[in-house]
Subunit: 229 residues, 2 copies
DNA sequence: GACGAATTAGACAAGACTGTCTAATTTTGT
DNA sequence: ACAAAATTAGACAGTCTTGTCTAATTCGTC
């Protein structure tokens, strides 16, 4: 090879930029192919670096994998806490505000690249790295659910909801707003916006029918529509 | 193939018994190691046959994988429809009957070996075999959800529930009764019986609060308990 | 008991992958 | 501009895996 001018990307990237490139490419390949099927040469090519650079930054395949999971976990947690911070503590329109929040949760934490990748890695390799994913479990869902439960408890205390156990309500809220996306998630896909909205809307309505102070207006309206049909 | 006397134990097993052994062992290994990581020698050893026998029954690794998925899909569907047949159409105690049904769904369709294995294979290899899993999707969740929705529609028509959209209600029912088991499922584990019961109970109560004719007694009781606390 | 089909253990070629090494080149800090 | 550090392409040994083949053995059935 005779590189008078690097034919790669426009400018050469820094040391740190390459480390990031490698981890990103590795995340993509590990998700697509699984740990065993992932190929270091492919990761290097996808990151736009040489194989040796991959080994320079991360001693071996296993260390690289751990780095990928830690990176995804950290970013997902940050995104999730940032999104929970937008929880509607003083709702003007409870249903609309909760649907908005549900959409933000889905878009920023569950359907985005990091969320999908981390979920897939947990599903496929979780049993192989118990300690690594135990760490994720404590830092991620454990604290996330507590934080969300606290917000629901506040809403209940303020009289907007009737909740017995805020932890249960928080888990059920998350389950409900994703109820219609399960199949897509299982196959690793990204649901289109309108499906996400549909699932969030249906989920929030059912949640409010269960935990709201009275069954929501939309429910009653559709009930009479059903009767007349 | 007429097995007049079937020596199921250590003595030599029949042709058909070996085919089953191979598929079972393959399911286990594919789940544990993923498609790429699965090793034919290991499958053969785990099935108690020679490697050549594996190749005799199934031309190659990919055909073996497809056979495993078809086998699991078929058994899971059969189990699911059998369980849906036990849906409480004429409930004496709606909450108790639905909790019982939820437990049967969890135990016979979701937490059992076939359910866990099939779910894991879909998650890990779903993107690699679009047509295979599209088939599963139509035959499995597609028909399952319809069948369950029909049962809920009947309950609603008989006046036991207030449901606008039975399909949405069916999906939300399944989401709710598993809401507390998500993490365990993600990591491929089997939740203990008491957790399954807890999740089913909480899920059914919330479901009935949302879709029942009035909020359930247990809810009202706990609500006053909460207020007094 | 005997015959054909199935099974077994093992060898085998072909290919893929990991992780190391080297020598040349490029980038970065000063 | 210069020296140190990082990066690159490529070769390489060692290992593993798949799928085929063969020759010996066992099984099912008459």
């Amino acid at each position: 090879m005779k590189p008078g001018v690097s034919p790669d990307t426009f400018p050469p990237r820094s040391h740190e930029a390459k480390r990031i490139s490698v981890v990103e490419a590795a995340a993509s390949v590990f998700c697509r192919e699984g740990f065993a099927g992932a190929n270091i040469d492919l990761i290097a090519a996808e990151a736009g670096v040489s194989r040796q650079t991959v080994y320079n930054h991360h001693r071996d395949k296993e260390k690289l994998f751990v780095a990928v999971v830690r990176d995804l976990t950290e970013r997902c947690n940050a995104g999730t806490f940032a999104t929970i911070a937008t929880f509607p503590d003083q709702p003007s329109n409870l249903e609309a505000d909760l649907i908005g929040f549900a959409m933000r949760m889905n878009r920023n934490c569950i359907c985005n690249r990091d969320g999908r990748f981390l979920r897939k890695l947990i599903q496929t390799e979780g049993e192989r790295y118990p300690e690594l994913f135990a760490e994720w479990r404590e830092q991620g869902p454990g604290r996330t659910w507590s934080a969300l439960a606290a917000r629901f408890a506040r809403l209940a205390y303020a009289g907007h909801l009737l909740i017995q156990d805020p932890d249960v309500a928080a888990r059920q809220f998350l389950a409900l707003i994703n109820a219609e996306l399960q199949i897509t998630f299982m196959l690793g896909g990204t649901p289109p916006d309108d499906e996400v909205l549909q699932s969030a809307t249906n989920g929030v309505r059912t949640f409010l029918n269960a935990f709201g102070r009275q069954k929501s207006a939309s429910h009653a309206a559709k009930r009479s529509a059903l009767v007349s049909a």
